[in-house]
């Protein structure tokens, strides 16, 4: 026998110790590595997730801003429209008032007669046709027939033209017209409207900027209005 029992035991003890030491070192290495990887992985995961969350909320918070702006702009616009609507209503009120006053004024027969004469003459001089037909309200018919007699020579004097003026017997202006006449060319193709309504409408349309200025004052938003 090369080795006796005691030698063998000693050898075996060393080897056992060696095996155990190797194992412990290996375990330590694994544990250390595992801690390191734990930290790295945790930090990595948190970074990426946090990034996503931050992006998400930043976008949402931007949306809040945008929505607020949209809201502000929309209520401001609504407010402007409301003001414009109120303005429009006030002007309409005035126009209705004007119509009422007009109706009362033409109830005076003298005033109305004079007016009718001028309206007819004006229309005729506008139309300048050889044959012209005057259309009026049914209640004005007789009056208009009389005025035609007077207005024909005056027309011929001013225009230096011959003319034949008739009063329309078949069709009349609606009875509730405020007043005035319509004058047609002989073939009814051309019409001149000189009713009080159409005069009122014309004036309203053409004078609207001035009416607004007179009622509401100068508009500070208009830079080029004279």
């Amino acid at each position: 026998m090369a080795l006796n029992d005691i030698e063998v035991q000693k050898r075996i003890k060393h080897m056992l110790a060696f095996i155990e030491q190797e194992a412990n070192e290996k375990v330590e290495e694994i544990d250390a590595k595992s801690e390191e990887e734990f930290n790295i992985e945790k930090v990595r995961l948190m970074q990426t997730q946090r990034m996503k969350i931050i992006e998400y909320y930043e976008k949402k918070e931007k949306q809040i801003e945008q929505q607020k702006k949209i809201y502000i702009s929309s209520i401001r616009n609504q407010a402007r429209l409301k003001v414009l609507a109120a303005q429009h209503d006030l002007v309409s009120e005035l126009m209705n008032d004007m119509k009422v006053k007009l109706i009362r004024l033409v109830e005076n027969p003298e005033v109305y007669q004079g007016l009718l004469y001028k309206l007819m003459l004006q229309s005729l001089l506008r139309l300048l046709e050889p044959v012209m037909i005057v259309r009026c309200r049914p209640q004005d018919h007789l009056l208009v027939e009389a005025i035609v007699q007077k207005v024909t020579p005056e027309y011929m004097k001013v225009s230096q033209k011959q003319v034949k003026i008739q009063v329309d017997r078949e069709v009349h202006l609606p009875m509730n017209t405020v007043g005035g006449v319509e004058v047609y060319s002989g073939n009814y193709r051309i019409m001149i409207s000189n009713t009080l309504e159409s005069r009122m409408d014309l004036i309203a349309e053409q004078k609207m900027p001035e009416i607004r200025k007179a009622l509401f004052g100068i508009n500070p938003n208009r830079k080029f209005f004279l």
């Binding site: 401001r76 005035l94 007179a214």
Partner: protein, 118 residues
């Protein structure tokens, strides 16, 4: 020899124990990694909840200020309309007189370019 086999037994057992120790360490490592995921998840959730709260309070604030704004604008509008109304009251008679004057101001005349045919 009996002692020889005993020694070998001891060595084999030691190796077995060693292998188990290492295997345990590896299992711990795997669990630790899983823990990393779980802990990261929890902390991220926490952060997300904080952010959500922040966002909610911002939104509430915005809603509130929107409400105030619309009330302000309403008031301003009403004042404007009132001003317009009183202005109209003040000026309407004058304007009406002018417009009616225009309606009655009839000037029968021929067009300035009218030529009397010879």
């Amino acid at each position: 020899m009996a002692s020889q086999s005993q020694g070998i037994q001891q060595l084999l057992q030691a190796e077995k124990r060693a292998a188990e120790k290492v295997a345990d360490a590896r299992k711990r490592k795997a669990r630790r990694l899983k823990q990393a995921k779980e802990e990261a998840q929890m902390e991220v959730e926490q952060y997300r909840r904080e952010r959500e709260q922040e966002f909610q309070s911002k939104q509430q604030a915005a809603m509130g200020s929107q409400g105030n704004l619309s009330a302000e604008v309403e008031q301003a509008t009403r004042r404007q309309v009132q001003v317009m109304q009183s202005s109209q009251q003040k000026n309407r008679e004058r304007v009406l007189a002018q417009l009616l004057g225009m309606v009655f101001d009839v000037r029968p005349q021929v067009h300035p370019n009218y030529r009397i045919a010879a």
